[in-house]
Symmetry: C2
Subunit: 378 residues, 2 copies
């Protein structure tokens, strides 16, 4: 049986996320141009432009906060020695500098926006890891494990303040508008974390609730990243709103792919354990979609997960036990539904670009970044 977790015949009008007919592959018109964009170079450009400014901003923090933050970013190890940390995929900085080009401005115009978005993202990681009790991030002990809870709170606060400072010291009207959008995104991040915490204590979470939470936790900041350079370049509010729409749906596609990788990802590529999200009992999209789908596999999954929540030996479960749960999720249609959802959100993101006047070269790059997000393996 195929999953229809929204329970209204998915893709019909009136559902929370729209209701368009969705192709299973990205639409044709832009496909020919895609191969010409070097996504690796695009990501590298964002990283290269943003990192020195980010490091200079973090260097402003008073000791010991500067050191704690440098550890968090992977620039030093726990002993204070220089490290060459995994800086992540750097999709956000790439989007921020690219969005400046929408207005005809140089990519550099988007750099304070890229830095501010990275600071807010990392503020939320520092606080979320502490709230969630997560001990590992990017293959290293989290800040609260190494430097204690107080430093995790304090340095998170400092990065949040610094984000606004980096923008507002530009002293322009555009900077004020950009900060306002960043503040809105920050509040969404916080709302999403509040939902995440409250869902942990519940047996069942609906697909709509899961999508809303993921929209807050991932969509809002990618929305801001996709528009902030344009705002700094002087784009009008409508253009910025439309770029936010692109980024928001790109974020939902990104998160759907993340949720797939969290269960079926190749550990060698993701750097995470096998069945990572299942081990953490995460109510991610494939799980909630499978539970909402109905049918024998869905019901069996529900019974098993309810029992798991009380199982005292959960930590000792074998590979086979997690594999069996993953198989049930797939049988109930959760995997396929989530892959469809990623493609659907990807399409909405790309179609949003049609409403913005921008150079073809810039549009192709936005499209290529969206493609990258859905095909990535890590």
């Amino acid at each position: 049986m195929k999953a229809d977790p929204r329970g209204t015949g998915s893709r019909t009008p009136g559902t929370a996320t729209g209701g368009k007919t969705v192709p299973t592959v990205p639409p044709a018109p832009t496909a020919d141009r895609r191969t010409t964009v070097d996504v690796t170079a695009l990501l590298e450009r964002g990283r290269t432009l943003a990192t020195p400014v980010l490091r200079a901003a973090v260097d402003r923090l008073a000791p010991p906060m500067d050191t704690v933050a440098a550890y968090h970013f992977g620039w030093i190890d726990a002993q204070g020695n220089p490290a060459d940390g995994d800086g992540g995929k750097a999709v956000r900085p790439a989007l921020a500098v690219l969005s400046a080009e929408v207005t005809g401005a140089a990519p550099e115009v988007g750099v304070p926006g890229a830095v501010a978005v990275e600071l807010v993202h990392n503020f939320s990681l520092l606080h979320d890891d502490l709230m969630d009790g997560d001990e590992q991030r990017r293959h290293r002990d989290t800040v609260w494990k190494v430097h204690g809870p107080a430093q995790a709170i304090l340095v998170g606060d400092a990065l949040f303040a610094l984000a606004n400072e980096v923008l507002l010291e530009l002293g322009t009207v555009e900077a004020g508008r950009a900060t306002r959008r960043l503040t809105k995104a920050s509040r969404s991040l916080i709302d999403g974390q509040a939902q995440d915490i409250s869902y942990e204590h519940r047996d069942r979470v609906s697909v709509e609730e899961c999508l809303e939470m993921e929209g807050n936790k991932t969509g809002a900041l990618l929305a801001c990243a996709s528009s902030i350079g344009a705002v700094l370049g002087g784009a009008d509010e409508r253009t910025a709103d439309t770029l936010e729409k692109y980024g928001y749906h790109l974020g939902l596609a990104f998160q759907a792919v993340d949720d797939l990788l969290g269960i079926w990802g190749d550990p060698d590529a993701t750097g995470k354990q096998t069945w990572s999200d299942l081990r953490q009992r995460k109510k991610s999209l494939p799980v909630v979609a499978a539970l909402a789908a109905g049918g024998a596999a869905s019901e069996r999954l529900g019974e098993i997960l309810t029992a798991d929540a009380k199982a005292s030996d959960f930590a000792n479960f074998s590979e086979e036990e997690f594999a069996a749960r993953a198989a049930l999720i797939e049988e109930a249609g959760g995997r396929e539904w989530t892959a469809d959802e990623a493609r659907r959100q990807h399409t909405i993101a790309i179609e949003a670009l049609d409403a913005v006047d921008m150079p073809d070269r810039v549009r192709d790059r936005f499209t290529a970044l969206a493609d990258f997000v859905v095909v990535r393996k890590r």
Copy 2:
């Protein structure tokens, strides 16, 4: 022997806080006019203007954060029933709305600034109480005790974001300038908390370090409160800087008085335990000044406090034991030095007002608020 904790002959040039000759009472010229200002009415005006806007802002938070915040502000009790909490002295809102009048604007113009400053102040209380492990605030259990650490972190973050939102949604150039100043003050608050935490682990803290920490924790936000209404009213940068100077030194005077009340305050008036700061082993101004003063009482105090830091039965110390420590602090000159310091900072604050062109009526009110801060009993 009199305390000379700066060790350079106090009040000489080149010390951290200036080096003026200081009268032991406020200067004469404004004294005649002071009696005409009704400080209670002035505080009430700030509270009356700011509270409804503050409550409306907090109401925007998603559940359960709205409830947690309402508990923190004293609007509801732990069971969710309406409460008539102690809203504090409300010096900051009074200053913010008053500062709008410097520019000839109505006090209402300062209201978003007053609300933003209150939100930042309460963000810092929520996080500091958790970091410091403080279980009581305003005679009630702190948020982390009642709602758990995650909610204290999350709601603190939300109030911080909301502060910027309340200002930036005004959408004016002035709002951008005000937010930039608020962000600067927020970073100082965070720096001050970082210093406070690091000093806890040290045997000795110098008077300069203590003043710097108190300037960050108390001075910076009172500085922002004293200028933010003026900024929103269109004041130029020089005027705003000068009003910040008034507020910064008023904050140091405020904290010096707080430090005196923390040891010698009347429990019936302060609502705190006797010898409150001594019970918490706080390295407040009277303590660090007494330790820095030299002489027999100072040395004896140092020995006793060093022993106290290791004493396993410290929690069971008697009234008499704390009284003896307070007497030694006084004998070493720590009490007198701190009272002098409060007067000195009060004078600097009032003199700063001379550099700003404003209606006499407004100047008198700033002066009256400064007087209130140093004579208060709670």
